[in-house]
């Protein structure tokens, strides 16, 4: 499996979020809450999860966010950490 730096994962998550929420990626930091700070609702979260699965599926075989884990994705960092953990396996 290819190695990706955490910073690259963060950049990808921010880029996808920015596109979905139609804001600038520079407005997003990893400590921000997806719902409370960035206004991402359930539809936006599904769009984010789907886009990240597609983005990383070439690097992480069969990569998917497990449905039971979705409620734990509260911040940008949660999404980044999830992917980094999957990369490390």
């Amino acid at each position: 499996m290819a190695t990706i730096e955490r910073s690259e994962v963060l950049a990808t998550v921010c880029r996808q979020l920015a596109e979905i929420l139609e804001i600038s990626a520079t407005e997003i930091s990893e400590t921000q809450s997806l719902a409370d700070d960035l206004g991402a609702d359930s539809i936006a979260l599904i769009e984010l999860v789907d886009s990240l699965e597609q983005e990383f599926s070439d690097i992480i075989p069969d990569f998917q966010f497990q449905d039971d884990d979705l409620s734990g994705l509260r911040t940008v960092a949660d999404a980044v950490n999830y992917i980094v953990l999957a990369l490390g396996k």
Partner: protein, 342 residues
């Protein structure tokens, strides 16, 4: 290369030689694939380019090209989950065909939620659209249909979304039914301003001042089929209840009428009335319209009824073609961007 149907047929595509095919989900719906294929073949015979989406080896496709998809999202599958889990499903591949410029539109009689999710996650939202909405034509005897939205995509909504629904519904009414300045009504429990719950009251105030919307005020359920309004805006929960109530009521009335006319003592009267009643039946028959449309995604997406017949599919495909030809998606993009800019 997309293959064209052979034979001596009216060539609608001679007018638009470069139109991409309509992606037809061959496996969606209670009567799939037979009714879907029959409808697709009939539409192709009219000169509409078709791209079937279905499993390898699907029989009965005639000369139509087939985009192979190995999975099918079932009617009871969770919509968002199934789009993510069944990436090679007919619905997902149909939406990707539109996204990737291989098809100009998609149509499915399958899982409504999954059709929406496929369109949302693969085609994406038009920039500035908060939420796509399902718009469905409600028949008006003697007139053009009323557009009702949202008919089920968003159970709960915000006032600003309803304003966008009004804009998108107006564009659809213009492009589909040729209505020049569609009259928009907010569905409520009374015509007087101030009637309704908090959502309706807040939305009313926004619609009153919204540019580009010919807002005529509140309307009631009984106004939907009268021709006094062209676009009726509501939340998806209410819209779906209204739609199903209308469908069930019309079906019961029509069935009862035909049962009454079937009695031997009314045979002569029935024969005399049929020339008047049959066109009315066609106006009221949902199959005449081919289904609903998902407005707000970056592509034409027709959502046909799960029990769609071949006739319904033909009319749905024709609707898809008309909306592509009319530039409806681009018109919505412009309308939404204008309000965002303001």
């Amino acid at each position: 290369m997309v293959q064209r149907p052979r034979g001596n047929r009216r060539r609608l595509t001679d007018q638009l030689p470069h139109m991409l095919p309509i992606a037809v989900d061959a496996m969606g719906g209670d009567n799939a694939p037979s009714a879907i294929l029959a409808g697709a073949l009939e539409a192709a015979a009219l000169g509409i380019p078709i791209l079937l989406v279905g499993p390898d080896g699907l029989e009965g496709t005639g000369d139509l090209p087939l985009l192979v998809a190995s999975e099918v999202i079932e009617m009871d599958d969770d919509p968002a989950q199934s789009v993510r889990r069944k990436r090679d499903s007919t619905l997902v591949r149909a939406a990707e065909a539109v996204r990737d410029g291989k098809a100009s539109a998609m149509i499915s009689a399958g899982n409504t939620g999954a059709t929406m999710a496929s369109a949302l996650l693969r085609m994406g939202r038009i920039s500035g659209v908060s939420r796509p909405a399902i718009a469905t034509p409600v028949p008006v005897p003697g007139g053009h249909p009323t557009v009702l939205l949202d008919a089920g995509a968003n159970a709960e909504v915000q006032p600003e979304w309803l304003v966008q629904f009004a804009l998108m519904g107006s564009v659809y009414s213009q492009r589909r039914f040729g209505v020049e300045n569609p009259r928009v009504g907010l569905l409520s429990i009374g015509e007087e301003p101030g009637k309704g719950d908090t959502l309706r009251k807040e939305t009313y105030e926004l619609l009153k001042v919204a540019p580009g919307i010919n807002f005529i005020g509140n309307v009631e359920g009984r106004d939907l089929m009268t021709g006094v309004v062209d676009v009726v805006v509501t939340d998806g929960f209410t819209g779906n209840v209204v739609l199903k109530t209308l469908e069930g009521s019309l079906r019961t009335v029509v069935k009862s009428l035909f049962a009454a006319f079937g009695q031997p003592e009314y045979a002569d009267a029935a024969n005399a009335l049929m020339p008047a009643l049959l066109p009315l039946y066609e106006t009221l028959d949902p199959d005449s319209y081919g289904g609903a449309i998902l407005l707000g995604v970056d592509g034409v997406c027709i959502i046909s009824h799960g029990s769609s017949s071949a006739r319904a599919m033909v009319n749905g495909i024709k609707c898809a073609q008309e909306m592509v030809e009319s530039g409806m998606v681009e018109a919505i993009r412009v309308a939404i961007s204008t309000t965002v800019a303001e």
